[in-house]
Amino acid sequence: MTALGDVLHLLFTANLWQATLAAAVLLLLPALGGVISERSGVVNIAMEGMMLTGAFFGVVADLAWHNVWLATGVAILAGGLMGTIHAVVSIQFRADQIVSGIAINIFAGGLTVFLVNRIYGLQDVGHVGQSELLPYINIPVLDQIPFFGKVLFQQNVVVYAALVLLVLTHVVLFRTRLGLRIRAVGEHPQAADTAGINVFMLRYGAVITSGLLSGLAGAFLAIGVSNTFVPGMTDGRGYIALAAMIFGKWTPFGAFIACLIFGLGEAIYANNSIIHISPYLLSMLPYLITLIVLAGLVGRSTPPAADGLPYVPGSE
């Protein structure tokens, strides 16, 4: 019973929820990218590789120029570049989007290690100085609110940015003409095309945006949460983001809730010495939960109708 009491106590500490939100944001950014891409009809399982590429180039740029903002920009662009490759291959060349996604992930894993070796030789990548990391910012006044001040207003700058992007994605997707068009392209591209919507351009935009968002997540991981690049450091987060996207039924806020659940698990593990469960078994949970969701035990999760289908103008 004491263990249970300790866990309950843990659940009422601000530290835990502060860590939960940060961990969730790391998943939220690529998940939002996934939502945008798949809403436009392009399956995206490449967030892992896009994020890894962002993490790597963020660290390289930060070490070279000692400017975290410039480095973050580079990371975002690097993710966007991977998104562009996925877009060109799967939209322009109508390649199988899953194969393209797998290829992006393999490409990112191989290229980053290859480049570490080319740039830094056999040495470590090196560490980014404390002053050159993405800063934690306390929002004046609000950060003094008991409990919630610490959870919501004493966070990394990327966390604030991600929450803004979350709302923005929701508003754009469901409250604007652009969002309606993106969704139309993902549900019925032929009809959208007939209505004068540029299917290719919207899909390009959506897939590249997913890369930009994943690149930002990579920057947060490598030069925010951590201070160096380690091969494979994304450690499946791009895939957990994919799971969150499905869990959240392809909606931004649904995905956010899933990210919070997965983030809470990560935070409980990082913040406690009470529960004596193998961390490896705990790490399995997001994937098992997603399988259960997919099994329909928590309601159906249905992708956009044209998700995964290359658009061929003039086809039925």
């Binding site: 390649a95 191989g110 995964g308």
Partner: protein, 383 residues
């Protein structure tokens, strides 16, 4: 077309090496030496290199089959990795638990146990696909990670850990091991080295048998007909009286058994225990490239497995001799995948007039796209 894709990938790879200040010729000569034993300049033993390549090829054939079979049914199994690890875990658990049993009993036990575990792993995805329409790509990704974390748990702090502080299991019993092809004899010298250093093992024969079984199953049995019918059109297959749901589940079970077999063979033939080597293993993902490049035929899969096996074996030599990171191999693999999937070669041919006939349609693989249309709604069964 596949050959063109590979050549294009190598050209792009050479550009990447050259742009980053490396010597592509040195890199590729290292790959060639490590993969085939040809043109070695660092004193490598060609026979040993070939043996190493074959050791890589063995699981690639079997997992390649595990990806290619569901492909024919319009299913994209990207869970060969998880299924293979499931097979490894089962093989090790049985081989350690019953280590005193004699080979005629124990060897079949570990191999069948591995197949069963792989089939179970893939079966989850098959059942979810057939009953609630959950997309197999997503479920197999999740199952890959479940297998990876379970492996870590088992050998770090879990029941198979050999001792605290280690990340490996006890070795499986002698009766659970596959023999090497050459006798494990230090006094016998073959190609200038003791016979015991050549790790090439009898799993090679099992892998080739798996490829042959795949071809037989697909083209000579009614199940194979049903698999192909479902892959062509679920609706048409249903009208022809094929139970789509049953075919999906059976296909995934068989595919998982192939992957699990690959894992069991790997433990029984090479490692003899679980270790952290497999935390970063990519065999099951390489298998996707093997299946795509091999155009889904048994012979093609074996040839593609030889290519990727040679690349992986060559990576180490390239790194040692040419100072180019072995991860270039993954870059090449990704480029090959892009090239096949996007049919770059066909597009290039189309752009250049007078270069013979226009490129044919993409390879005869069932395109994965149509299967996604029917992914949303689960196949209803006629009452």
């Amino acid at each position: 077309m596949p050959v063109g894709s590979v050549i294009l990938a190598f050209v792009l790879g050479a550009v990447i090496v050259a742009v980053t200040g490396g010597n592509p010729f040195a890199a590729y000569s290292g790959l060639l030496c490590g993969g085939t034993g040809l043109g070695c300049q660092g004193g490598e033993n060609p026979a040993l290199q070939i043996s190493t390549t074959i050791v890589y090829v063995i699981p690639l054939i079997t997992t390649g089959v595990a990806v290619a079979l569901p492909f024919r049914a319009g299913l994209f199994n990207i869970g060969a990795e998880g299924q293979m690890i499931a097979g490894m875990m089962a093989c090790t658990a049985i081989g350690v638990r019953f280590s005193s049993l004699p080979a005629p009993v124990l060897l079949p036990m570990v191999l069948v146990g591995g197949m069963a575990a792989g089939a179970l792993w893939a079966g989850v995805a098959g059942v979810l696909k057939a009953t609630v329409g959950a997309h197999e790509v997503v479920t197999t990704i999740m199952l890959n990670y479940v297998a990876q974390w379970l492996l870590r748990y088992l050998i770090i702090g879990g029941p198979l850990q050999v001792a605290p502080g280690t990340s490996k299991s006890l070795p499986i019993g002698a009766g659970a091991r596959l023999a090497t092809i050459l006798p494990a004899d230090n006094s016998l010298i073959i190609f200038g080295l003791p016979a015991s250093v050549y790790r090439v093992h009898t799993g090679l024969l099992l892998a080739l048998a798996a490829a042959a079984l795949f071809a037989f199953l697909l083209w000579r049995t009614s199940l194979g007909y049903e698999i192909r019918a479902v892959g062509q059109s679920q609706r048409a297959a249903r009208y022809a009286g094929v139970s789509v749901a049953r075919t999906i589940i059976v296909t995934m079970l068989i595919a998982g058994a192939f992957s699990g077999f690959a894992g069991a063979i790997q433990i029984a033939g090479v490692d003899h225990n679980l270790s952290d080597v497999y935390f970063t293993d990519t065999t099951g993902f390489d298998a996707i490239a093997v299946a795509l490049l091999g155009l889904g035929s048994a012979v093609g899969i074996v040839l593609a497995a030889i290519l990727f096996g040679a690349l992986h074996a060559g990576g180490a030599v390239m790194q040692a001799d040419a100072g180019i990171s072995g991860s270039l191999v993954f870059v090449l693999q990704a480029l090959i995948l892009f090239s096949i999937a996007a049919n770059f070669v066909g597009q290039i041919r189309r752009l250049i007039p007078g270069l013979g006939r226009p490129a044919a349609l993409p390879p005869e693989l069932p395109p994965a796209a149509p299967l996604m249309t029917e992914a949303a709604d689960p196949p209803p069964e006629p009452a």
